[in-house]
Each structure stands twice: as C-alpha cells, then as structure tokens.
Symmetry: none
Subunit: 220 residues, 2 copies
Amino acid sequence: MDDYLNLLPYWDKLNENEKALTAENHTIRKFTKGSKIFGSESCLGMIYVLSGNIRVYILSEEGREITLFRFKKGDSCVLSSSCAINQINFDTYMEAETDCELLVVNSSTFKFLTDNNIYVRCYMYESLSERFSSVMWTMQQILFLRMDQRLATFLVSEYERTGRDEINMTHEQIAVYINSAREVVARMMKRFSTDGLVELKRGKVIISDVEGLKNLIREV
Amino acid sequence: MDDYLNLLPYWDKLNENEKALTAENHTIRKFTKGSKIFGSESCLGMIYVLSGNIRVYILSEEGREITLFRFKKGDSCVLSSSCAINQINFDTYMEAETDCELLVVNSSTFKFLTDNNIYVRCYMYESLSERFSSVMWTMQQILFLRMDQRLATFLVSEYERTGRDEINMTHEQIAVYINSAREVVARMMKRFSTDGLVELKRGKVIISDVEGLKNLIREV
C-alpha cells in the first residue's frame, strides 16, 4: 500500500476493506501552473495536496472570477467531490496556482466511505464548515469593504503574517488576492503612496505606515 | 423528561447521561415578532424551532444587513452556538420574523455533546454544510443578479424579434451576446429550466413562459 495514503485525514479511521478500496481507487494527478483542475462539469473527487497551491473560485456575472479561498500542501478539500455531497448544490472551480501534485480519491469511492463511515462523514462536513468560514470572510470583504480597505487589509495581513514590511508581489498578483483588477490596485497604490502609507518599487511594495493602513481599515 | 426533547435531530444518538444533561440544560424561549434573538455579543446555544420563522443575517459596520437564510418550525440551527464551534469565526445575527417558540440547548452543553459524541458532532457539521449552500446561493444572487435579468432580456427580445419560441443558439453563443461566460449562462439556464421558464434542448432553448421572463426582468 502506498505510503502517502496515510496522509489522508481519515485514514486511521478506515477499516481494512475501506483501506483496500481507497488504495484501489485513488490516483496521483499532476497539474501545471495555471491549469484548471476542476470545473462545474466534472467531479474529480476528494483531494489531498502533496505539493503546490490551489485557488478555488466562482464565476461572476461577466465571467470574472471571485476567489473563495486557497489551499496548499498538506491541506485537503472535498468541494472537488461536490457531486457526491447532497448538501452542496453550488459550482466551484479550481485552478493550480503553482505546479501541483494531488492525491485524488475518486468521487464514488469517497461517497461510499462517507455513506458507511461516520468518521469520514464527519471529516467531510467539518472540512466544509471550515470552508464556510473562509467564504464568509471573502463575502464580507466584497460586500462591505471599500476597495481601498480591502487592499489595506491585505497589506496589513501580509505584514503580520511574514513580519516583514516588504511585500514581493506585483500589482497583478495582489489584484488576484483581493478580487480586483490590476488597474484598480495600481490606482489605489498610487494614492497610498501619495498618502505616505506605502513606497512603491518595481515588483514590490514597502509598507511605510502600518498604523495608517490600520486606521484606514477602521474608517466608516 | 419533556416530550419535545426527542425532536432534537440527534436525540436518538445520545446515551442516558447525555440525555439527562440535555434535559437539565435546555430552555424554552419565546420571542415576539421583530425581536433580536441573537447577536454577535451573545452565544445563545443550539436552537430547535417549535414555532415561528427566523431570519439569519450579517451586518456591515454601517449597519447594512444581508440576509443569509431563513429557518422555521421543525428546523434546527447551530450558528447560534458558534462560540462553541472552533471552525466558525464569523458573526451572524438572528431575528424573529414572526412570534417564535424555541427549544434552546445551551452552548456549553452543546459543546460537551459535540466533543464527546461523534453523531452530534457530525450533525453539527452537516447542519453547517447545509447553511454553506444557502449562503453561496445568496452570495451568487447578490453578485449575479444583473445577469439573470440580462439573460431574460435577451431571450424575450429574441422571441419578439423572430416571433418564435425556439431559439437556435448554444449557451456559448448566447454568452457572447450578453457579455458573459458559457458556464454562467449554463447555470442560469438550469435555474430558468427548474423555474419552468424555458426548456433546454441540445443546441437550442425553448421559451415556455414569456410572461415569467418579463416579470423577472422587472424585478428589483
């Protein structure tokens, strides 16, 4: 039996038959950066990420993408098996943000496991509940925050996450993170720069005034 | 032991101790129409609705409300116990849309049950997953509202232009006409079809209810 199977979050809760079934019905799939992993028309299965980063999104009115959340090496996702989950009736799309290697348990096998094993079922719903929280955060950002506040929120959270005042990302990359367009980010950055909140360099942003950004987020 | 306790979705899965604990730590709460049941500052507990309708919403800092979903007699909700759920880190608010009578299991008791009983835990996450779907539907409604009206407008204008109820175009061709993506048109068409507005055939659309489409366009 392949070593990586015990990386599955519910592996220890499977009986011998269920382990054998999973061993027979999984695949290792590789996706290159930028490729579509999953769309509304297919139902890949339950995913465990062996390497790489994945972005999950929905499509807006004009085919614009709204990023819901991301997941990475060591994370798993069950939304890619939504055809096997009665409670989920919305379409999501997934894209490889970097080259990816995924362990995929096919949908019918995953459905068999969730139907028959309370621990796998509980894992599935718990995983969806976590995604629910991520999506609510995104939804509140889009609905309630002005674009400048979304950008400030992103800069402050990157600052706090990395502990560095230098963010090595282009305007285009930042735009994808905050569900906006490059032009909008460029315009905001110029304003932030004029206001002394950031300093702009080629391919990166230096935060000059964290407190100023935090105040902007709190503005009504 | 009170008769209504066996209405709890997980009652049959509790052992005698857990049943006794629940019997000791629940209340029946009455709320009048329009009153606030629950806000971010409190954590009421797990709710089962004995009578009435409840609306769940989020609030922007300026006080703007977005309704996420509603629930009614016979439904239960665990978001009102979110302080006891690690995966949920967003605030929701609940309001009685009619006079309500609620069976409430207090949060610490509910947390004890979900921590110790895999079936209650699974019920909790399953319930959240269903809410996730409702919220995604709401989110897409908000983001895509113009879209369904544009699609309806296109269908009605084709109907009036040609005088025929059959439109010989693929979803992709229609998407080009209304500045959208094929996937978005496909999703809307599926909804229109479910609502009895159109009938979908390979490579064409048959309009079943022109007045229904016109009403949709006029909706605000």
